[in-house]
């Protein structure tokens, strides 16, 4: 029983950490490209901004799904209901 809880805690931590890593790197690259494009052609900034937010939402999707599953493990652990 304790090992299930311990491994769930570890799993939640790894999920959130790796998700944050991926999201951070991806959004950093996205933002830097946007700023570069905005510096080259300021008149395109509104259009680029819309596209950037769209890409931001898509890049953020899987890390946030990982966070949601980690929260599920932390607060309503399905593995515990399976064994008890």
């Amino acid at each position: 029983m304790e090992s299930v809880v311990a491994f769930s805690a570890l799993a939640a931590g790894i999920m959130v950490g790796l998700g944050a890593l991926g999201a951070g790197v991806g959004i950093g690259i996205l933002g830097s490209k946007f700023l570069e494009g905005a510096a080259r052609q300021p008149e395109l900034v509104p259009m680029l901004q819309v596209r950037m937010f769209l890409m931001l939402g898509l890049t953020d999707a899987v890390p946030i799904i990982a966070i949601a599953f980690a929260a599920l493990l932390m607060f309503a652990n399905p593995f515990l209901t399976q064994i008890g």
Binding site: F53, L58, A61, I65, A68, A76
Partner: protein, 275 residues
């Protein structure tokens, strides 16, 4: 409803009002998370149904008022807001949709405004509505329908059904299923094409619904955590920045859901002549 520990408070606030058949055969509302899972697949989350229908009715009613009382020379403020939204959706559909289908723009407008309104319920302070519901005898009440996986999967599976329907209608059954075999590599690599296309076809509704669910659930969970773990006179310090960030997330997720719907349906309408 002052639960003992923070864990109980949090578990209480993420539990839906589930109606179904109990383990002993009687029908009723679940009184705990364990009872709710025992009810199985065919249990309905009443609070999700109520709030999603209420926000949908509010959207239709508001927009109908704006349309019926529309005036060219003296537009009201509601009419101006509705016009801005319709224009934004119209521009998005024109940019992203390459077929000819009068359903897409109203569908996109419905998705955007409805998802936005459902998400907006998250900005109401955590305890207000559950406390009122508790005074009326209702044990659990979650206002944000999009934090329920059932709601988001319902929407994305409907979009998936539309994708398949229009795919078969525009390309013909042979063309639609033929695409599974011939995209993206060519007829020779048929098994690889099949595997890739099947995975991407399944990934679309799954990612669509889980993206919205994950964002909204995480947002709501942070509000509940702030309410559970921070003393009440300090809660505003964390809750205000998070709420401001959450306004962006709400609008963004509604917009992304709409754009992806338009793009997926546009892909179902495309006929690849030579590939």
């Amino acid at each position: 409803m002052s639960a003992g520990t923070p864990a109980e408070y949090i578990a209480h606030h993420i539990q839906n009002l589930t109606f179904g058949q109990h383990a002993d055969g009687s029908w009723g509302i679940a009184h705990s998370a364990k009872e709710a899972t025992e009810m199985g697949f065919f249990a309905i989350n009443l609070d999700t149904m109520f709030w999603s229908i209420a926000t949908g009715v509010a959207f239709c009613w508001l927009f109908r008022i704006a349309a019926v009382r529309a005036s060219v020379h003296h537009p009201s403020r509601l009419q101006s807001v509705v016009e801005m939204l319709v224009e934004m959706v119209n521009t998005s559909v024109k940019d992203a949709f390459s077929g000819n289908n009068p359903l897409i723009a109203p569908l996109a407008l419905t998705i955007f405004v409805w998802v936005f309104l459902m998400n907006l319920m998250d900005l109401v302070p955590v305890d207000v509505v559950p406390q009122l519901a508790h005074l009326m005898g209702i044990e659990y009440m979650k206002m944000v329908s999009t934090t329920d996986v059932n709601a988001t999967f319902g929407m994305s599976l409907s979009i998936f059904a539309l994708m398949i329907y229009y795919g078969i209608k525009v390309k013909g059954p042979l063309g639609f299923f033929g695409e599974f075999a011939t995209h993206p590599f060519g007829k020779a690599l048929f098994p690889i094409n099949l595997a890739l296309e099947t995975v991407s076809m399944i990934a679309k509704p799954l990612s669509l619904s889980l993206r919205l669910f994950g964002n909204m659930f995480a947002g709501e969970l942070v509000f509940v955590l702030i309410a559970a773990l921070i003393p009440f006179y300090l809660q505003w310090m964390l809750a205000v920045p998070w709420a401001i960030f959450h306004i962006l997330v709400i609008t963004l997720q509604a917009y992304i859901f709409m754009m992806l719907t338009i793009v997926y349906l546009s892909q179902s309408h495309e006929i690849h002549d030579s590939h």
